[in-house]
């Protein structure tokens, strides 16, 4: 028992020391990646802004762009399998969504995973505020969203997340449906 304790303590201390060093070395880079990723996403969904400011209102965090009254926020909700996290850009004054970008998801590869990668996300480009209907054909009206073939539930979940975010943004910034 004593041998066990001595060996493991010595090894544990060496390991902790080495890892503390690795942590110090890599952590700034990891944080930087996260920061750059967030910044890219915000500026993608805000068409005209080149800069933004982080604003906390109540429990929610918004990113206010420097042009046109553009606002972005992160919204999330349950998907088909795990959580889906979406960055959404708004223009509350015009009552529309600029565009969305899916940040994280655990949807089925080859089916629901197509919520990322542009084609499905483009459904929400310049979308007027309101309730959305997910349809399994090309859209005919502005309040429709075309579902991904074979992944209707994932598509509906994203639409729901956007609807919920619109509600939250309207409570803070106003904007007509």
């Amino acid at each position: 028992m004593r041998k066990l304790l001595i060996t493991l303590t010595v090894l544990g201390l060496i390991s902790a020391f080495a890892l503390a060093f690795v942590y110090q070395w890599t952590m700034p880079k990891i944080l930087q990646h996260q920061e750059v990723g967030k910044k890219d996403a915000i500026l993608t969904v805000l068409p005209e802004s080149e800069q933004y400011q982080e604003v906390r209102k109540g429990d929610l965090t918004f990113y206010e762009g420097n042009k046109n009254g553009e606002v972005a926020m992160v919204a999330s909700g349950g998907g088909f399998q795990g959580q889906i996290e979406v960055m959404i850009g708004f223009n509350p004054a015009a009552g529309k969504v600029y565009s969305i970008k899916v940040l994280n998801h655990q949807e089925t590869p080859g089916l629901g995973a197509y919520i990322t990668g542009g084609k499905f996300e483009s459904n929400f480009v310049d979308k007027p505020f309101g309730e959305y209907k997910v349809v399994k054909r090309p859209v005919k009206s502005a309040h429709e969203v075309e579902a991904i073939a074979g992944a209707t539930i994932s598509s509906e979940k994203v639409a729901e997340i956007v609807e919920k975010a619109i509600k939250e943004i309207r409570e803070v910034y106003g904007g007509e449906i």
Binding site: K3, L4, T7, L8, L11, G12, S15, A18, L19, V22, Y23, W25, T26, M27, K29, I30, H33, G37, T108, P109, G110, L111, G150
Partner: protein
């Protein structure tokens, strides 16, 4: 010559996946694209190599009856290193391998090689063994992931190789496809091995 034999051993005769059938969790879980398979293979090989070097160097200092926990501790240290390294320099790879980087700790392949090889042999032979086993693990992962990505998405390493006419078999990149394709692959390898014996 002996070194060459130690190295060659892992590639085919005692291939960790086909012959010893160990380390299957990552083999099945991350092989849905060729990039993931390759990254996992390399990460595992690195941990295997680093821990075999350390353990064969200090094997005399570790009392025999506490060796297993000590090995696990050393392996876990290297795995943490790989995890932070990937997150810092290859964030995209780190995201897609996610949970399976830390799970290299309990890959039976790594602990198994320490017990069966590094704890009994000198450093230079352990390096040869680690390189052979690592490469043997990696090539099978890459092969399996190429098969799955090609059939499941019509692509290899992210490049679309099959045209629009190809209707992807999505099942291949889902869990069920992983089990079935590995099963068939092991069957094919058994067949090849058997033919070799008959000759």
């Amino acid at each position: 010559m002996q070194l060459w034999n130690d190295f060659k051993n892992g590639l085919w005769q005692e291939n960790p996946i086909f012959r010893l059938v160990i380390g299957l969790c990552p083999t099945l879980a991350v092989t849905n694209t060729a990039i993931n398979g390759l990254a996992m293979g390399l990460a595992t090989s690195f941990v295997l190599l680093a821990s075999e070097i350390v353990i064969s160097t200090i094997k005399k200092l570790i009392p025999n009856d506490v060796r297993i926990p000590s090995y696990i501790l050393i392996i876990a240290t290297f795995v943490t290193f790989v995890d932070y390294f990937l997150k810092a320099f290859f964030p995209a790879v780190a995201v897609s391998l996610s949970l399976f980087v830390p799970l290299i700790v309990v890959n039976c392949l790594i602990l198994g090689r320490q017990e069966a090889f590094a704890s009994k042999n000198p450093v230079h032979r352990s390096i040869a063994d680690a390189l052979g086993m690592g490469l043997g693990f990696t090539w099978v992962l890459v092969l399996l992931s190429i098969v799955r990505e090609l059939l499941g998405m019509g692509a290899v390493f992210g490049f679309q190789v099959l045209g629009d006419w190809y209707q992807p078999m999505i099942i291949m990149i889902l869990p069920a496809g992983a089990f079935i394709s590995l099963g068939i692959l092991v069957g094919i390898m058994n067949y090849i091995a058997r033919k070799g014996v008959r000759k």
